[in-house]
């Protein structure tokens, strides 16, 4: 694409041709000595106040040469660049940086007076802690990188900027610690990002599809977090992090399944407590997935699984239910999913009413009317709560629970065993960025078990996880 000509009218005409949108404005003015200037900027995303203070005011009294260097020295903006090609100039205008042109210009000046709209840094609603830092990422990549930079006061922290998206030109910051992250993993991340040919990236979740080795997989292959402290801890272990402009959710690779059973709080409480809560999360998840399925399978195919007294109670409560056990459980599960979905989307004041409707009308009344039995409601309620013990896996585990329930209703307990076998085989053969998904359990890496489901004391974790193959293994001396 061609460069600016130095003829102001002609250059403005060319820019207008390239950017015909109505929100791209031009402000023309002259210095007291008669030199003509023009500022081209994207109205909604350029800070006009800053522009007036830092660019227009100093230039009104400009008396020097027409060279970009001389003009630049007069401007009060700390962030200035010069560009010649129209392609780069249009990109800067669209990014919110106004472009200054003048009659006889050899280069145009780009002023970094972008208007920044950001919400306040707050605790992420998906990752609430009682102890530990409460900061969360927001949608602006610059603020997010500053949150990371604040935690690593070292030149080893690298933040390589990559643009993704033909039209959105979304900035992705690839963050890693030089000498600690495996160089091959950093290169692979950049290679994958550069190979993405998509027009628009609205959120970091779009990138996970391209970073995964099995893009159509049901299981997650890229780690996610909304908290800078977790993000930095993962980088310090040797992972590579990605901050995507416009998304509060940061990505980390390689990802291990066990990461989602760990909470940042585990590192701020005594190790025995952390171990207990991690095991509790696993237990809750297993029960949440299997309990509805086994309840149905036991009713349909294997009543012996129930203790005698419990069997009598269940028999009493299901006697008048018009549906088969599997259909009954499926209906209750679907109602729960609908309530869950609706309560997330509803405005807060309606959400309260919805909870009352869900709990009283659908629960109490459905039981009284004899549509569903009390044990089914209890089991689904427990299962629903249990899934949220590991909130980052909710998309996967809720599908798995449904699959288990369908299989249990049709093939019974052996079906559940086989689906489990499928899942095990699928998980153990999945790996991404050279790390097996279910490590350190398979392949078994004894060293890394110290911070897996069990949590050792900090003093017993002097080295980084072996699985991440960091060139610098020791983190505690």
């Amino acid at each position: 694409m061609k460069n600016i000509s130095g003829k102001l009218k002609s250059d403005l005409k060319e820019l207008k041709k390239l950017l015909p949108a109505e929100d791209i404005l031009t402000f023309e003015f002259s210095s007291e000595r008669g030199l003509e200037f023009a500022l081209v900027y994207a109205d909604p995303i350029s800070d006009k106040e800053l522009l007036g203070e830092q660019v227009i005011k100093p230039l009104i009294k400009y008396e020097g040469e027409k060279k970009a260097k001389d003009i630049g020295e007069k401007l009060a903006s700390p962030e200035l660049r010069t560009e010649k090609s129209f392609e780069k100039l249009t990109a800067e205008i669209l990014a919110g940086n106004p472009v200054l042109l003048w009659e006889g210009a050899d280069e145009a000046i780009v002023a970094g007076t972008k208007k920044v709209f950001v919400r306040a840094i707050a605790e992420p609603s998906t990752d609430v802690v009682v102890k530990g830092p409460r900061e969360g990422f927001i949608e602006d990549v610059k603020i997010n990188t500053s949150l990371v930079r604040r935690r690593f006061k070292t030149g080893e922290l690298k933040m390589d900027m990559v643009e993704v998206g033909r039209r959105s030109k979304t900035v992705v910051a690839v963050c890693y610690l030089d000498g600690i992250s495996k160089p091959a993993a950093v290169e692979e991340v950049k290679k994958k990002l550069n190979s993405i040919d998509i027009d628009y990236v609205p959120d970091s979740s779009y990138l996970t599809h391209f970073l995964a080795s099995r893009p159509f997989s049901l299981v997650k292959q890229v780690g996610t977090t909304e908290k800078p402290d977790i993000f930095c801890a993962k980088i310090a272990e040797g992972r590579v992090g990605l901050l995507v402009d416009g998304s509060p959710i940061a990505l980390t690779v390689p990802y291990l399944l066990i990461e989602d059973f760990q909470s940042s709080e585990d590192y701020f409480v005594p190790p025995y407590r952390a171990t207990f809560t991690r095991l509790l999360r696993l237990f809750a998840l297993i029960v949440a997935i299997y309990l509805p399925a086994f309840y149905v399978a036991a009713q349909l195919f294997k009543l012996q699984l129930f203790p005698v007294k419990l069997l009598l109670t269940i028999a009493g409560s299901i006697r008048d239910i018009p549906f088969s056990p599997s259909l009954e459980m499926l209906l209750v599960l679907l109602v729960l999913e609908v309530l869950n979905e609706a309560s997330i989307r509803m405005p807060k004041y309606v959400g309260m009413a919805l909870s009352v409707v869900g709990a009283l009308v659908l629960g109490e009344t459905a039981v009284s009317a004899g549509f569903v039995s009390t044990p089914a409601i209890i089991i689904i309620a427990f299962s629903g709560i249990g899934l949220y013990a590991v909130p980052n896996l909710i998309e996967q585990t809720s599908v798995l629970r449904l699959v288990m329930l369908l299989v249990a209703g049709s093939v019974g307990t052996y079906g559940i065993v086989l689906v489990t076998a499928f899942v095990i085989l699928y998980l153990v053969t999945t790996e991404n960025f050279g790390a097996p998904l279910v490590a350190p359990f398979s392949p078994f890496v004894a060293h890394d078990l110290r911070d897996s489901l069990v949590k050792y004391n900090l003093g017993s974790l002097p080295t980084r996880p072996e699985l991440l193959k960091s060139p610098n293994k020791r983190r505690l001396k």
Binding site: Y414, L418, A421, V428, P436
Partner: protein
């Protein structure tokens, strides 16, 4: 991911392999050897441990079965031998799969027809066979603790009900009882043969051969303990208890208040068994791939094909299990010692003769 580590091999030998012996074999041995059932079992375990030693010693060369045969006998002979071995493994897969089918039908279901209940297994088998061998190694990392929990749980719930005095006096069944028991048990001991297709994929470690044999003996000790408990509980009626590991624990006193809590362990073992029973099929595919060359979709196609064949056989032989059992463990039992004991020993012997002996 196509490599199997030494640790994974040990896990397989100590924890996964014993699970394949817990359904029909106890009743089978009790039928022929009565209270002396532990002796033929011990003989099989010792022989298999020796065969495992041979195979793991061979793994030091880092060559596949096909490569070893090709170096020794040439390309054509290697293809034929690998093909024959593949056929044997497919044949060896038949009994455990039929046995498992019978087990699932009788233990897990009171109402569902076996065609519905067990058919999905063949989908799983096909899926499993399409995976690389290293995937198997990784499953053993997960299955080993499950097998330990399952076996330990069953033993803990069963042992209080057992009268171990029923195993005395030793030798009551005589030599004939021992020989008949030993002969009928061959069809369940093919673990060394399962390792042969993995040659070339095993990451050899110093001392792996004898350690492997020791781990197999450790797993064998579990099996011996289970058989002793089984006979201690059922004694003369043991011969009628076809699904041994689901039967021994049901006399646990807590069943009345807790329900069949032992099913937790039974399901854990059934899960391990699902993988174990598909191993010969996977081994058969691996031998075929070595002989025919690896093409992109060949493992998947072979996995589907062989699983379909086994599914068809399971339907055809649905009501003829007793005949199949009689044929495999009686008429053609000799196939097992030939392929599972003689072949590893001969392969090792051949390499020793060729001046290529390696220390364990």
């Amino acid at each position: 991911m196509n490599k199997i580590s030494a640790r994974q091999i040990y896990f397989f030998l100590a924890c996964v392999a014993p699970v394949g012996k817990l359904i029909l074999l106890p009743a089978q041995l009790a039928n022929f050897s009565k209270n002396d059932l532990l002796f033929p079992l011990l003989a099989h375990i010792l022989l298999q441990a020796a065969a495992v030693f041979c195979v793991l010693l061979l793994s030091k060369k880092g060559q596949t079965l096909y490569d070893l045969m090709e170096n020794a006998f040439g390309k054509i002979a290697a293809k034929i031998l690998a093909g024959v071995f593949a056929l044997f493994l497919l044949f060896a897969a038949l009994l455990p799969i039929l046995e498992q089918k019978l087990f699932v039908q009788n233990v897990f279901y009171d109402t569902l027809p076996t065609v519905v209940s067990f058919s999905p297994y063949f989908l799983f088998a096909a899926f499993l066979c399409a995976k690389p061998l290293g995937g198997f190694g990784r499953t053993w990392d997960i299955l080993a603790p499950l097998a330990i929990v399952g076996l330990a749980g069953i033993l803990l719930l069963s042992a209080p009900s057992a009268d171990f005095g029923a195993l005395a006096p030793a030798g009551a069944a005589g030599g004939a009882g021992f020989l008949q028991g030993a002969r009928s048990g061959f069809a369940w001991f093919y673990d060394a043969a399962l390792l042969i297709p993995m040659l070339g994929h095993i990451e050899y470690r110093e001392g792996m051969a004898w350690k492997g044999a020791l781990f197999y003996l450790l797993g064998g000790a579990f099996v011996l303990l289970f058989f002793a408990t089984f006979y201690g509980i059922f004694q003369e009626t043991a011969v009628n208890q076809l699904f041994a590991f689901s039967a021994t624990s049901k006399y646990y006193e807590g069943v009345t208040t807790l329900g069949r809590i032992d099913y937790v362990f039974i399901y854990a073992l059934a899960l391990v068994m699902a993988f174990y029973c598909a191993l010969p099929v996977q081994g058969s595919i691996e031998c075929t791939l070595q002989a025919c060359g690896r093409k992109k979709y060949l493992p998947t196609v072979l996995g589907i094909l062989l699983s379909a064949v086994l599914f068809a056989l399971s339907l055809i032989l649905d009501y003829k299990f007793a005949d199949v059992l009689q044929a495999i463990s009686g008429t053609v039992f000799w196939l097992f010692p030939v392929f599972c004991l003689a072949v590893p020993a001969l392969m090792l012997l051949f390499l020793i003769k060729g001046g290529r002996r390696e220390t364990a």
